[in-house]
Subunit: 331 residues, 2 copies
């Protein structure tokens, strides 16, 4: 027989994903595996994260946004570890009813962000599923040998820094679920759109990765809520943290929400999907880190201090806040 049959999966990959696989190690997605020569003197940083329709995104979210969010969740982990992006593997499970336009837009979104962040597609796996659309990504980065920034190495006396603004995505998802909230919060259309966009499309801080690698004593990405994630960093480092709630950076939109509904501050501090970085700095590193952040164009704010002890305390006017729920979990 002349065996020239290609499966539906082969055709799909060839049409939409192969054009994205420009890295020579991807071998045009035409082999069992990809090949990557690790940079000299480096360690590899390996992370995996994914999204499932109805759990991490809304089934009617635009497919390019779904793709970009999935990729950016992984990029955010690399940034928080101080790693330079090397590449990623993409697993996609699609319901049989998925139309080609969805797949085309999804692939275009992945391709756009792969270019933007310099994280090339190296390989993947595509399957049909009787369940919801699912995307799982494994991403790889590089750090100088022995220099990956961990959660477990914060020291008493270190400053606590966060990037960007906190809580936008947590407020954005509430707006997405209940359109009437915008009126209750007296939000302009622009503010409501801004918060929802922050949920839909994270802004991972990869521009800051080198500065994190060079200066941070510890770091992690904020994905399950600032309060809960900081508590994890404290547990891992066997230290306590004191946060001055008044210094936690809020966007103008989030500030408008909190002005209308003071209880929203708890949502901002404990909700998920920030994809910012919380990091700690020894006192002598504060100035050079600020300079590097300025050069990278990433806003950074000192919000508190690491102390001996345990637990993360959020202080407002000297009093500790008590949260009903410290952390967000999809599980």
């Amino acid at each position: 027989m002349q065996n020239t049959t290609e499966s539906a999966e082969d055709r799909l990959i060839a049409r939409y994903f192969r054009p994205l696989a420009k890295h020579p190690g991807a071998l045009g997605l035409g082999d069992d595996a990809a090949v990557l020569t690790p940079p000299e003197g480096c360690d590899l940083v390996l992370t995996t994260d994914g999204v499932i329709a109805g759990v991490h995104f809304f089934a009617d979210d635009a497919p390019d946004m779904v793709a970009r969010k999935a990729l950016r969740m992984n990029l955010s982990d690399l940034a928080a570890k101080g790693a330079k992006p090397l590449g990623f593997l993409l697993s996609v499970a699609l319901p049989a009813a998925t139309d080609e336009a969805w797949i085309a837009a999804f692939a275009a979104g992945i391709g756009e962000d792969a270019e933007r962040y310099g994280l090339p597609l190296l390989g993947g796996d595509t399957d049909r599923t009787p369940g919801p659309t699912s995307v799982s990504i494994a991403a790889f980065g590089a750090v100088p040998r022995g220099k990956m920034v961990r959660r477990s190495t914060a020291k008493p006396g270190d400053s606590i820094i966060v990037t960007g603004t906190i809580g936008d995505a947590a407020l954005g998802v509430l707006l997405r679920r209940d359109a009437k909230l915008a009126a209750r919060w007296r939000l302009t259309e622009a503010f409501a759109a801004y918060l929802q966009q922050r949920y839909l499309l994270p802004q991972p801080r990869n521009a800051l990765a080198e500065a994190v690698q060079q200066h941070a004593s510890a770091a992690m990405d904020i994905s399950d809520g600032f309060a809960g994630d900081l508590a994890k960093l404290c547990r891992a480092s066997k230290v306590a943290a004191e946060i001055d709630v008044g210094r936690v950076p809020l966007s103008d939109a989030a500030r408008a929400v909190v002005a209308a509904d003071a209880a929203a501050m708890e949502t901002a501090l404990t909700g998920g999907d920030d994809y910012e970085i919380v990091l700690t700095l020894a006192p002598d590193k504060l100035a050079p880190f600020r300079d590097a952040a300025k050069r990278a164009g990433v806003a950074v704010t000192e919000v508190g201090r690491i102390a001996a002890g345990e637990g993360a305390r959020f202080l407002r006017d000297g009093k500790a806040l008590a949260f009903a729920r410290a952390s967000f979990s999809h599980f």
Copy 2:
């Protein structure tokens, strides 16, 4: 507040998966990412593959078998590329109704094979899903720099070799779906069990990886059916293949099936889930490869030859077979 809350996901990971994360680079699954120092002078080989309940396995399959199959599918890719295992990332999506006993058995199965094949768990991601149980694995291996064995480098005159036996899993899955087939095929209980076991639990040929790396001109793992996968290798290498069907190695159980139902030979040659390796060898490599395979304890069989031209031809008594369907696809 004292923030000591852990999510259900955190507890699950701590209880069942953290004990498997013995590699120092896994950081006890307690960080955003894993860290891995690549071996000197090596390239990384990166692959991803997964399974979905109802697509790649039966929902009532034993959870440790599901886990081991998912891992072994990836191990088989590493073996076919001549790579030494380095580690893997595990993504699991579980329906809310999954009981802890399932998770415990799944984790035990993954842990057992991670030990057996020297492929340590480096990190992962656990989520609840409204859909079926899904497992996605990204696996990493190492080859000497520039030496990953590809699909695209077979040359006319090369011998074509397959490992193990072909078609067992394809026959096994038919038995699994229709218990009456065992009687129609006049199979002993042991033969029927053997074929089903070959479907349930692949035997990846990682013991042969070094020999493949040192001797093969091209290789790929056989996962979507021998005929279809060989056709892919031919397309990638821009060559033709001629297979002597009489030399394709069958297990005693598969031979019994073919004796009862000659048409089953097509199923054996085109069905999926073999997880054997097809490789090509320049004439002077045949003897040293056979020696190395003997030392590795892996059966290898010469089944044909690469020629100029295109397409994979399966010859029986000099006549080419025509298959209704060359390749298996879950998609």
